[in-house]
Symmetry: C2
Subunit: 218 residues, 2 copies
DNA sequence: AGTCAAGTTTTTGTATACAAGAATATCAAT
DNA sequence: ATTGATATTCTTGTATACAAAAACTTGACT
């Protein structure tokens, strides 16, 4: 414990921003937060620097640190990139995936199915995350794996919203099956297409996303 | 001037790491660097935090900041991701590119050709960069554009090395033409494939990259 | 010589102090 | 009342001070 407070503070702040405690444009008051965390301004400022590079916070010289939540356009862009990254992971994984990993994917999927049956979105979310991380890993490119995981994490709060819409879990489930099929056959293009379609925000999903954005703003 | 030293320090340090002043594993001495930059440790430590997230520096608690240069494996991985990102940019740009941007691409290419004729690697490098940035931009996805530019920048020193190999400039040139052709026709898949092949490190290029890595270590 | 332990020196991490810029309040003049 | 100038307060950015951990030194002991 307490081995590196500045690090933890960055994570805690990230969490606070993710879970909606701060909204777009809010200024992060150094002294108030320092008080709140029970530390001085120094470690807080170090944390700000980290958050700035990942885009969660904008540092305006001599003005302060401001929360930067993605708007609808930026969010669509991020989902588009996520879809493409997953597509690449899938294509590479189709060539490189291990039998063990295929089993793990099937296992994750089985647990997803159980969550669908139980209407348990939280459980679904956990297994869904495992499913995707396995694919990132099996791309055989750890840099790609990290980048994909980073963006995945950033989109987490918005993806979670999505799952709450009726029927989304079951549909998502079916898409997972298609991905596993393609990967089992070693069909790179099919796996790629299935993952892109799975992640991309289009049609119905677009309206759902916009709707959840509005409700979050209230 | 002097509006925000911590920021500038991060950039200067980045430059020092890129241009090979520091090699993998070197410790960045806070007091020595503070002296060197004529500032105190505080802004330096803030800069370290930034560099840490972009992967240039590893912060080990209670030990210090260590330079993290990518090894051969990580480098290959990064080039693989770069190739895929460019491929995505190309596919999207084929649908979204403006006539003006197409003209700009042809202009950049003409200047590249002039640089090839003059055997001017520096000039080639500048125009090559412009060429690629136009494509990032024309993906119509500014988040993607930023991510691509970020990785592009990170790989800069290694790409630059590559251009010095005999015939590489001319070959690169020819590949650019193929990209412009595909984009002009609005052929997404062709543009995507051409860009992937252009950026990917394979065959000859692999050996060249490894060779330049060795010479850099000497 | 080699190893280990205690003491010393460095170095990191955090708090505090201080200087300078930005925001805000005060107040006179139109 | 509104505007503009000046003074005051807040806030940021940086330096310095200090505590605690790590690295290094020294010297006793096997």
């Amino acid at each position: 414990m307490q081995q590196r407070r500045a690090d933890n503070i960055a994570e805690e702040l990230e969490e606070l921003i993710f879970n909606g405690t701060y909204s777009d444009g809010d200024r992060l008051d150094e002294v108030r937060l320092a008080d709140q965390f029970g530390v001085s301004r120094t470690p807080l400022r170090e944390a700000f620097q980290r958050l700035a590079l990942s885009g969660l916070v904008e540092l305006i010289p001599r003005r302060g640190a401001f929360v930067r939540q993605p708007g609808p356009v930026e969010l669509m862009e991020m989902f588009e990139v996520m879809a493409e990254l997953e597509a690449v992971c899938g294509r590479l994984a189709a060539m490189r995936i291990s039998d063990k990993a295929l089993d793990d994917l099937r296992d994750a999927n089985a647990k997803c199915q159980a969550a669908v049956d139980a209407q348990d979105t939280d459980a679904y979310y956990v297994e869904n995350e495992r499913f995707h991380r396995i694919i990132y890993r099996q791309s055989g490119n750890s840099f790609l794996e990290q980048e994909a995981a980073k963006l995945h994490k950033r989109l987490k709060p918005f993806r979670r919203q999505q799952l709450r819409f009726r029927g989304r879990m079951a549909q998502s489930m079916a898409e997972h099956e298609a991905v596993v099929d393609a990967l089992t056959r070693g069909a790179g293009d099919a796996a790629s297409a299935a993952l892109r379609a799975h992640v991309a925000v289009q049609g119905e999903k677009f309206h759902n996303l916009m709707a959840s954005l509005k409700s979050a703003a209230e």
